[in-house]
Symmetry: C2
Subunit: 155 residues, 2 copies
């Protein structure tokens, strides 16, 4: 259980076996089915999801009623709505399983406890956020390079 997460953390920072055991005991892993919603627009997001296998997507409904996916999370990526989570406000997004997936849920209370106990986790999340942030800027660049039609069918 959670072997993939521990392995992923250790790619970015050091973790003792005791710390790894503590993390493993603090988080829960479960299977979600294709199309299952983990967050629904209007709800407050209180969980950060780590994808062990499968794929999640973050999307919103635009003014024309179209679903617009603004991010995918595949194996070893995290997905949450930080705006909703950090400010305790309703989310503008939904999170849905694109296919049957195995995910690890890290709720707010647990993450606060883990950050307070294991400073290395701050380093881990800083580094993966640098990567996620870069990826989103790259995505913005791609959107500029695509025609409206390509955007519509391509994402």
């Amino acid at each position: 259980m959670s072997r993939e997460l521990i392995q992923h953390i250790r790619e970015f920072t050091k973790l003792t076996d005791d710390q790894a055991d503590f993390i493993t005991a603090s988080v829960s892993e479960r299977k979600v089915l294709k199309k299952e919603l983990l967050l629904t627009t209007g709800d407050i997001c209180r969980v950060n999801y780590f994808v062990v296998s499968g794929c999640l997507r973050l999307f919103f409904i635009d003014e024309q009623g179209m679903e617009r996916t603004i991010q995918f999370a595949i194996e070893n990526w995290w997905m949450t709505d930080y705006t909703s989570k950090d400010r305790n406000v309703p989310s503008q997004y939904s999170i849905q399983a694109v296919e049957d997936s195995i995910i690890i849920s890290l709720d707010n209370k647990t993450s606060e406890k883990l950050f307070a106990t294991i400073p290395a986790l701050e380093t881990y999340f800083r580094k993966i956020l640098q990567r996620a942030y870069s990826a989103s800027l790259f995505r913005i660049g791609l959107l500029y390079s695509r025609s409206k039609e390509e955007m519509f069918f391509g994402f």
Copy 2:
């Protein structure tokens, strides 16, 4: 010097006066002129810039030779190319002052030294990256909602 940065860090995490002095002594503040380039496409990005006053932009040149701004950094925002900085590869972007600005430069070696000495900085950067990442996802959502013409003239 660097008072704004220390104040900004303290909005997100605790910092002792000694730590604040150490940060202040480690970073440099300077004025940059409108249109001055801090990073040029093809160079390796080795610095993270904090905007004390003024505005920076991150842009790339598209296939039609047009400059495409994918991010602005105003007061209290950081700007860098994490992909180039973390992987030591040439940047696809340029960073330029939009107007006369006061910036604080944090180079890679200094930031490594600071992270090793002041763990609270990991928390600070994790939290500001959560915010920056959320802002870029929001931007992606906006791009979906705009026509190609609005994208062209609007950014």
